[in-house]
Structure formats: structure tokens, C-alpha cells
């Protein structure tokens, strides 16, 4: 069964479960091929599951126009289907969409298949094990 689909703007999306100390939450996340990180979730959604914790973790995100902006991050356990992985999540502005990036696909060993003509998308198991898989940076 396909675990991805296209939204009304033909963007590929998937359903993930974010796991925190206060519970779990299912979210529809846009699969963003222009994002090389793991995950980006609005702060309001993270707060509902008790994330982030008390420590401050930051990083720098480089935007399309090459501007660098500081972002807050937290370690976030996420489930896709029945598999769980823990990766760094950008804590985005309170409202908006959740996004998964290329490091997410690497962590879950998935390949993205998009067929806009037939309104179809899927996150299939990647059958190719590249050397990058063992040195993943998610």
C-alpha cells in the first residue's frame, strides 16, 4: 500500500507519527526534496507531545537565496509505518506545515516515487544500499 500521496498542489506528502514524552501525534508531512535535513515541524505541534525538552540546541539553515538563519532543533523520535527513527527536527514557526527531508528518506531507507500525471506518490523501500547509508547524517 502506498504510504505517500499528492496534496492539492501536487506536493508529495506522507503521514508520520511524532513521539514525545507527553504522547504521540499523527501529522501529514510534505516530502521536500529541497531540504537535506530530517524533519521540520511547527512548534505548536511539537509542544502537544512535550517537545522540545529544556536544553537549547541550535543550527544554521541555508535558504534558497543563500541567506543563513538560526534555527532551534530538538531530537525527535518519528514513526513511519511501524518503524521508528530518531533524528534532528527543526522547530519551525508555530503554525504551518510539517516537512520531511532527504535525511528522513535515508534514515528509513525509502525512495520517493512521484507520478503527477496519474496523481500517485509512494515511499517505497530502497533496494539500493549505497555506501552513504552507513554514514548517514540525519
Amino acid at each position: 500500500m502506498a504510504n505517500a500521496s499528492l496534496d492539492k498542489n501536487s506536493r508529495p506528502t506522507t503521514t508520520i507519527t511524532v513521539v514525545g514524552p507527553k504522547g504521540e501525534r499523527n501529522l501529514t508531512a510534505i516530502i521536500d526534496t529541497g531540504f537535506d535535513g530530517f524533519l521540520s515541524i511547527p512548534s505548536d505541534e511539537l509542544q502537544k507531545v512535550g517537545l522540545p525538552g529544556s536544553i537549547t540546541v541550535t543550527g544554521t539553515a541555508v535558504l534558497a537565496d543563500n541567506r543563513s538563519i538560526p534555527v532551534r532543533l530538538c531530537l525527535t523520535p518519528v514513526r513511519l509505518d511501524r518503524e521508528e527513527q530518531v533524528g534532528m527536527c527543526i522547530i519551525a514557526s508555530p503554525t504551518g506545515d510539517a516537512f520531511v527531508g532527504m535525511s528522513f528518506l535515508l534514515a528509513f531507507h525509502k525512495k520517493l516515487i512521484v507520478d503527477v500525471t496519474n496523481d500517485f506518490a509512494d515511499l517505497a523501500v530502497s533496494d539500493y544500499q549505497s555506501p552513504r547509508s552507513s554514514a548517514s547524517g540525519y
Binding site: 537535506d36 536544553i55 540546541v57 544554521t60 535558504l63 538563519i69 532543533l73 531530537l75
Partner: protein, 104 residues
């Protein structure tokens, strides 16, 4: 009675004032970038790996992934503030297509 309550309120306010102010995201990131500029030559041969920099102590923790670097740093200082960098890259992540959503 009133005096005690007033005095307790006064003490709490004093404690709040004396508590070190928590750094903002921008302040932690700026301090982390400053420290990284100093540390970068030491890690020049570790392109593509990640550093978690403790902005309080200036110590850096190297690992193959950002989450592993952070775990190393947190084990040493569970209450620290940390800045993550990808060695040899302009930033930790590139957010090319929907970047505007990150700005508040």
C-alpha cells in the same frame, strides 16, 4: 503574616533576577558560529561530519550524525546549550524550497 508574604514575594523576585538569563536561539547560534570559526582548522580533515559545540564551555563533540554529536555533548553537560554544525558546509541544513516557513 502580610510581612512574611511580602518578604517571600520579594525573595522570589530576587531569585528570579539572580537566575542566569536563558540565551535566545539567535544568541546561542551566534556564539556557536564564533566558536566554530575558531575550531574549524582543527577539524578541517573531517568534512561532512558533525560537531555539537557547547556554547558554555566551548568544547566540541564530533560524530558522523548531528544526533550522535548532540548525544555526546548532552552526556557531558545535560543542561548545556549546544550549536550544531556540519563541517565544511555553510549551514547545518539546506532548506531550498520552503525556507520562508522557518522565519518567524
Amino acid at each position: 503574616m502580610r510581612e512574611t508574604s511580602h518578604s517571600s514575594k520579594h525573595t522570589k523576585a530576587k531569585l528570579r533576577r539572580n537566575r542566569p538569563r536563558r540565551k535566545s536561539v539567535s544568541e546561542v547560534a551566534a556564539a556557536g558560529e564564533r566558536l566554530y570559526r575558531r575550531l574549524a582548522p582543527e577539524y578541517a580533515g573531517e568534512q561532512g561530519k558533525y560537531l555539537a559545540i557547547d556554547v558554555g564551555t566551548g568544547k566540541a563533540y564530533l560524530a558522523a550524525s548531528p544526533q550522535d554529536a548532540l548525544k555526546l555533548a548532552e552526556n557531558v553537560n545535560p543542561k548545556g546549550s549546544f550549536h550544531l554544525v556540519k563541517i565544511g558546509s555553510d549551514g547545518l541544513y539546506r532548506v531550498a524550497s520552503y525556507g520562508q516557513r522557518l522565519t518567524r
